[in-house]
């Protein structure tokens, strides 16, 4: 039995008792038309600048675990879209519930006609060009380099002002090796906590699976991308000592 903290129901790595993966052959991109519309509306709202913090992840991770695990992927997207529209002041809960009541009583009412060339061009650009990935370099050089042994921190989400993190529970408080240095990336923890836009160096850190779950395959590994502030160099063994451990 591995003991480590989970950040919530979304932090699923290593969860017991889930059963076989349900695999569906020849699947379409979505099963219901509304699922595609939810995805499309969310991307369009990105283009319109509606979806500033809280982030989608922060919103859905705040759900009760039972609710989170019973909602489908696109249901979570719809919930995220609504909650972020409310958080940014574009809609109110009352507006949504009132329009929903109208729609339920008159399901065939037409959706308002509209043409908005700016949004259309914007989504075409988003799909074909993506989101600019931020600065290639930071003022401070990376603290770690390929081959370094590092220790990952324990990130306690119950601490005040820390509602979100991108380090999985199983990867916390572990020894690992820097497999590669990624380009700097936005730290979502800081964005969610305070709106701060902070870029940090990111490292692909290789963990030994059996260090986490002793019954795991002897050679098997996990590589997880971790931001610099998740890492420390306290009480580290030398790289050769780490690699030589049985």
């Amino acid at each position: 039995m591995a003991v480590f903290p989970r950040s919530g129901a979304h932090d699923l790595g290593g969860m017991e008792g889930l059963g076989p993966v349900p695999i569906e052959a020849d699947e379409a991109p979505w099963h219901e038309v509304w699922e595609g519309r939810t995805l499309g509306a969310t991307l369009a709202a990105v283009v319109s600048g509606m979806l500033v913090p809280p982030t989608h992840r922060a919103v859905i991770e705040a759900l009760h675990p039972v609710t989170y695990l019973s909602m489908s992927y696109y249901e979570l997207w719809l919930y995220g879209l609504e909650q972020r529209a409310i958080a940014t002041g574009v809609l109110t809960q009352e507006e949504i519930e009132a329009r929903l009541a109208d729609t339920l009583s008159n399901p065939d009412a037409p959706i308002p006609e509209d043409r908005n060339p700016a949004i259309l061009e914007g989504v075409r650009g988003l799909i074909s060009q993506g989101v600019p990935p931020g600065p290639e370099r930071l003022e401070q050089p990376p603290r770690f380099t390929r081959g370094d042994v590092v220790r990952t921190k324990r990130i306690e989400l119950r601490a005040p002002g820390r509602p979100h993190t991108r380090i999985p529970g199983y990867a916390q408080d572990r020894l690992g090796v820097v497999e590669d240095v990624r380009r700097p990336m936005l730290l979502e923890d800081a964005l969610v906590a305070s709106g701060e836009v902070r870029f940090e160096h990111v490292y692909a850190v290789r963990l030994r699976t059996r260090d986490i779950w002793p019954d795991a395959g002897r050679r098997d590994t996990i590589v997880v991308d971790l931001w610099e502030s998740y890492l420390c160099d306290d009480a580290l063994p030398a790289a050769n000592e780490y690699e030589e451990q049985p």
């Binding site: 993966v21 995805l39 529209a85 329009r99 990336m185 098997d220 590589v223």
Partner: protein
């Protein structure tokens, strides 16, 4: 009895009407437009799918120099083939070898290289896959029909950052005479996630 939480417990027709209500409100507020939503659904239904990733793999199989560039700078190398866009801004390609088999997951959410593979299959987003592949990779791969010798290292890439992974599968034996286009046709989506291997073509 169905133990899988792969579909919602809420009535789909209710969710369809709820989304319709939200869409109409957001249109009135000028935040989305019907034609923009149509453009997105159309792109993921018709244009953006695993054929893109398969083209990258086939090119890497026939062109050693391209493969070297692909493994060292993923975004630049896929852009050479005209592939850019949402969900492939920071692409890292990881190569399967006789010693190492790579497989991709996102345990915290469902991050996936959209611009290379399209939208993720349902199973990729399930708690079953997200929860189990890091801890029991051999059992999960067996459910996909993939059995690997115990000497092979299974390396699971957890997509916890903006990095999006594509697995470069091993080229099967018996494909020496095939064209790049015929090779691409052999490459499955699952092989590029790492839950499949590319099979030798039937004789």
């Amino acid at each position: 009895m169905n133990h899988h939480h792969t579909t919602t417990t809420t009535d789909p027709s209710y969710l369809a009407l709820r989304m319709k209500a939200v869409e109409s409100l957001l249109i009135e507020k000028g935040m989305v437009s019907g034609e923009a939503i149509d453009a997105i659904t159309d792109a993921y239904e018709h244009d953006i799918g695993p054929l893109r990733g398969a083209g990258v793999v086939a090119r890497a199989w026939v062109d050693e120099e391209y493969k070297r560039r692909l493994l060292s700078d993923g975004p630049a190398a896929i852009a050479e083939l005209g592939i850019t866009g949402f969900g492939a801004e920071v692409v890292v390609v990881v190569e399967n070898t006789p010693q190492v088999h790579n497989v991709v997951v996102c345990t915290l959410c469902s991050c996936y290289p959209w611009a290379l593979l399209g939208l993720p299959p349902s199973w990729y987003k399930t708690p079953q896959y997200r929860g189990r592949i890091v801890r029991w990779p051999r059992e999960v791969l067996a459910e996909f029909g993939v059995t690997l010798p115990n000497e092979v290292e299974i390396r699971v890439w957890d997509s916890s950052s903006d990095t999006r992974y594509l697995v470069l599968p091993q080229r099967p034996a018996g494909t020496e005479g095939l064209s790049e286009r015929d090779l691409a046709a052999l490459v499955t989506r699952d092989a590029m996630i790492g839950t499949g291997v590319v099979a030798r073509p039937a004789a």
